[in-house]
Symmetry: C2
Subunit: 438 residues, 2 copies
Amino acid sequence: MGDESKIRVGLLGCGTVGTGVLRILRDNASDIEARLGVKVEVVKIAVRDTDKPRDGIVPRAMMTRDANEVIDDPDVQVIVEVMGGYEPARTYLTRALNGGKHVVTANKALLARHGAEIFRLADDVHRDVIFEASVGGGIPIIRSLREGLASERIDSIHAIINGTSNFILSAMSTEGHTYGAALANAQARGYAEADPTMDVAGTDAAQKLSILIALGFGTDVPFEKILTEGIDTVSADDIAYAKSFGYVVKPLAIARAHEGAIEARVHPALVPVQSMMGSVRGVFNAVYVHTASLGPLMFYGQGAGMLPTAAAVVSDVIELGRNILRGTSGRIPHLAFHEGLIPQRALRAPAETECRFYLRFPVSDQPGVLASIAGALGARNISISRMVQDDSDGTAPVQVVMLTHEAREGDVRDALSTIGSLPFVRGPIRYLRIEEIR
Amino acid sequence: MGDESKIRVGLLGCGTVGTGVLRILRDNASDIEARLGVKVEVVKIAVRDTDKPRDGIVPRAMMTRDANEVIDDPDVQVIVEVMGGYEPARTYLTRALNGGKHVVTANKALLARHGAEIFRLADDVHRDVIFEASVGGGIPIIRSLREGLASERIDSIHAIINGTSNFILSAMSTEGHTYGAALANAQARGYAEADPTMDVAGTDAAQKLSILIALGFGTDVPFEKILTEGIDTVSADDIAYAKSFGYVVKPLAIARAHEGAIEARVHPALVPVQSMMGSVRGVFNAVYVHTASLGPLMFYGQGAGMLPTAAAVVSDVIELGRNILRGTSGRIPHLAFHEGLIPQRALRAPAETECRFYLRFPVSDQPGVLASIAGALGARNISISRMVQDDSDGTAPVQVVMLTHEAREGDVRDALSTIGSLPFVRGPIRYLRIEEIR
């Protein structure tokens, strides 16, 4: 097992997260040593530009432009990959595992696409790959699903795992901003990229949900197959109407276990304003898990940013350090379940989703409208629990807003398609799902 | 390492939690096996009364009145202690460890008093004692402090870890109940014991806080030394005034790191009604941890009850099972830190606490009262941020309620002692601390 007087780390990438890792290892060195029993030392760092100024936190002599120098260094026990992207990250991790290194990665995109292959290799060579930072930043949700909830049969997961989207919807909700203004604000603060598509369209959340589904339910659901709707079509009006009914609009990633199937979807949804999830504001993330034994359980914290993400990476290094010091690996299956011991479940068709719905109809102010809408809904077994209709100013369309009782999504879509073609409908019908989580 | 085809458990005690453990092991058997790789099997159970009916969940042949039969059974690898109390639990665990068993316990009272001795023995004999269920029921907070936050230097912990107290204060807050009515309601629902002292006086929370302090800060603070104030002196009036200022009263257990010292206290406190902690209602628990890198992090869930507690116990059995299957132990120090690597810090004197205060003075409605109060506060550098005075009905005392800016607790006590002796004060002065956690 070699020199056990310290755990030696090689870093691939030294951007925001990598710099954070170095800062935490420096600032919390004594705490980390007290917990692990030995020091953690970064011995080599692969960077794109060795001349870039780095605030004195990165000793020049440690840096190299050649990642293989880090990977092949016989002193390095743990490779930390914080480069992001599919390639060359995938090639590097493969080489690192084959060379006998353990791996920490924060790369959710890589795991969402190539996780199965990487984990299989790690199993074959008896090395561990862990990835706490890939979902929920500094929230120890992956560890909790793999270990803390190991006794549980999970019913459902509701997660706010895209801080950018939560910041935008929160700003629309509390400041009354339009989507555009809230996005511009998020960009100005560095919470949203110049091209925010990955965040606001839901792809980032779908990648993370795919990982949570694997860990929570033992089923492989490729993120591209998850129903994914962005927050960019939520209007300030929808948020105001939701509020008047006691709800707030949140960007949710949802998974639910059914007999033989997994339901998975990413979309904005109404949650009770008084609920724990309704209280998660700004860039904060939260993961709400429900099991038969535990009822609801929630994990809350910062889902992104230099130091929260780096803290998760360093906690992973410490976990690998504990394994290295005990000469063990493979204590926990990479994706929480032993292959072959958990039946793979199919992805449930989105039309089968059952929940309550928020519906907004822009209509002409004329007699019979409500009866037509209610009739079309009723014909598909959709019943209305609450309704509000704006006062008319005689010119603009009147907004008819309804909350339904629980209904099948396929039925709702059919009904809306019928209603959409009626002559009194004066614009696109908006619908949002309601999640009655507490 | 013997037969590794299953993990064999001996159960000491089969009351509420023990029955819950058996139920989870039965109901979630396939999930547990899929996660651990092998089955978990209870092979022997020590009970007080083998004739008591147990819903068919406990095979009669497995039961014995002699705990040593369980402890000494060579087949048993893990002893689960869910008896509670100091003795004979302590003697049994000692014998179990000396006999080479690993131990899971939910017994916070035992750990708060004899933890050091038990953990030392476990280290000596290379066995593990784990205890997730001892704090926060089904919330994986102990695991998170030992592992998920291993990279962190923790600044502070704010915890709602007594569900009974939270239920009572929540009912007073939302239903306007008096303390007595809320307590009776809690007792009727089984949330409070006939003698509720351990819960409402704060002892239970202090025992749990002592464990959180050990795990979070590496310092041993006996629970008897922690400033502990119960919720039984909180009045419906205080709750109503707090609400008018935007706060809600919560039963908090608080610990904070200072240079060379640890601040620790258990008492009801005002927290912002819009905050995450302010949203934790009913019997729910939550632990809010703040670190420099992570900012705030919160864990929320059911802190008591048969199945939540049992779920934590079973997750511990699975953790020990993973160690047994790998032939390892001692991966993580029992109390998170390696002895000798973390400086022990002193307990800070309560007078040194600095926070904002809520003060309520029942006074005669006469000129000069406010000036006298403000003067006595000002003389000790306590400045007032907000004030409200009731309309007088001419007979009853007028309530003067103030929120202070941050002040030193010793100064506040001195000032209140001075004010208490002034002639216009017509009843006991109430003060509550304010915790500005978000």
